[in-house]
């Protein structure tokens, strides 16, 4: 969306000369014959001006995954070699079935030491944004810690929390919330094996 021409305003006090008002000193009779006086108001003229708004077009953008990785991720996911794990509400402890899933993930990771992974922590929308970021961070790290305990090299695993920012399901019901409380595994690079 282009908002060129949008402007940040700055008020510059330029006209400092006092200008007498257009209403001259005058006297008027009120109904009760009380004399009232409306004295001239000294009027400062303020020049209200603008400064141009900086463009946002040049802002750095995210780098996508290397070309072949989206297809690779799709493939290992479809074959069930890597799968996501799910959490209870406001929890980051691993359920029994999550441990089973992580054991399979660890197997694939150990068989492919050339692959680097990012573990994304996700939350449902019911908490606050900032607290969910912290909670998603805990979920991703709980998954990472367990994988490391199974022998996966921790240097190949990065964690990132998305909190409630990247929901997998956007409906307002418990089955949807459950889908959003997860750790999601993505191949995000290849190790320099040299």
């Amino acid at each position: 969306m282009s908002r060129k021409g949008m402007i940040v305003f700055a008020v510059l006090m330029l006209g400092v000369a006092l200008v007498t008002t257009a209403c001259p000193k005058k006297k008027a009779k009120q109904a009760d014959d009380m004399e009232i006086e409306s004295t001239p108001v000294e009027v400062d003229t303020e020049e209200v001006t603008t400064a141009s708004t900086p463009t946002t077009a040049e802002d750095e953008k995210p780098e996508g995954l290397p070309e072949d990785l989206p297809a690779l991720n799709e493939e290992i996911r479809q074959q069930g070699l890597i799968g996501d794990i799910f959490f209870d509400y406001d929890e980051y402890s691993l359920r029994a079935e999550a441990r089973d899933r992580l054991a399979k993930n660890a197997e694939f990771m150990s068989e492919h030491p050339e692959l680097l992974f990012t573990i994304e922590g996700h939350c449902d929308e019911r908490g606050t944004n900032e607290y969910n970021l912290a909670l998603g961070d805990r979920r991703a790290n709980a998954a990472k810690d367990y994988l490391v305990s199974l022998g996966v090299d921790g240097d190949r695993l990065r964690t990132v929390s998305y909190g409630e920012e990247r929901p997998f399901c956007e409906q307002d019901n418990e089955s949807c919330y459950q889908l959003n409380r997860r750790a999601h595994f993505v191949v995000t690079g290849r190790a320099d094996m040299g």
Partner: protein, 454 residues
Amino acid sequence: MIRLRPPTPLFSLFLGILLLAPSLGSQEVPPREPAAQEEGDDVTLVIEEGQTARIRLAFPEPEIRGDLSPEAREARRELESALRSDLQSTGIFQIQGPEALSVVEPTGDRGRDFEQYRSLGNEAVLLAEIYQEGSDRIVLEGRVYDLASGQSILGKRYRGSFDLARRIAHTFTDEIVLYFTGRRGIALTSIAFVSDRSGEKEIYLMDYDGRNVRPITGHQSISMAPDWSPSGNAVAYVSYYGGFPGIYLVNLETGEKEPVITEGSLNSAPDFSGDGSHLVFSRSLAGNTEIFSVARDGSDLRRLTRSPGIDTNPSWSPSGRQIAFTSSRAGNPHIYVMDAEGTNLQRITFEGTYNDGAAWSPDGSKIAYATRRRGRQFDIAVTDLALMETKVLTRRMAGSQESPTWSPDGRRIAFASAVGGRTQIRVVPAEGGESELLTADGNNMAPDWSGHPN
């Protein structure tokens, strides 16, 4: 609480009117209030919630001088409409507009006209004149008169291009508020916020009334958690464009972005210190978020909390001496306050099952935050730190409210309101009352109110 301090001797007359307003017959001339004048700067008037001790201001239709081009007519319309809504939203006036004043028959004699305004119960009148200058500029001359004495008490002339018509109204409004209350108005302040209107979450600015929206980031990633620098020339924010949430600054004059801290997997929730030299924020240490502070150039990184629970969303007190934050160290998320060095921890909230998003009032006496007390909805609550008394502001509102931020005069709180899967920014009087919608395009959240412009 509104503190009214007379900036000029004439003001004491208005203070007198204000003090007497509830019992004032509409046509009585209030006597001078000698006590108020003697008390001088120490006069404090507390307006309780629901009390309408407002200055009764007549604001007839502005006089148009000369011919206006079509563009100038549009600018005039914008200017008048902004001036009326600005004055209305100050909360210090009870305004009679052209409709209520239609019974006034202009006599060409200011004194007689004033008597007519006064007989309708008004205490002051705002007379505005608007005219075009050259091909592209509009001028407002505004004068306020005390109807009891007939004396003019404030006069201003503003000149600017047509697109600044609202800006001119805001500038004049703040001048009027300063005159009547001794404190700056907020009509020239801005709110930074997050919007997904472009498809991705970016940081935007808008005027205090929700108008003049403009983006300040274009990362096409997730950008969030904006926080104004105290001087108003930069906004700190969080962005994922580097792959992980890091803290950046946008220079509002040049548009340049610079990183503050991006190392690590999670840096979030930045909040400037009052002197603008440091930021406090939350940072993950292998799955445990703790509160840290850092200089705005990324140096001087200090860890302030040590607890196994989640510690996040810190907010520096206006004095700089304390930091409020959210912690789950006692189980559920609650608001705590510690000294800026991380010592002297004090728990602030005990009610509700989930509290987050602490925001200090500008005078440092209160903290606003989101609290969960009914089902899974959040409400905005304000806790008075001296009395340790809490008031829930949004109890009767639909949906879930979070991310409160105070206007720099402490009289309003903006927040994000999620209703039916859509999130918009609303503003409510800090004492409670009806809320107003500020945004409509896309989802809009995480408001942060600027300070007064320099």
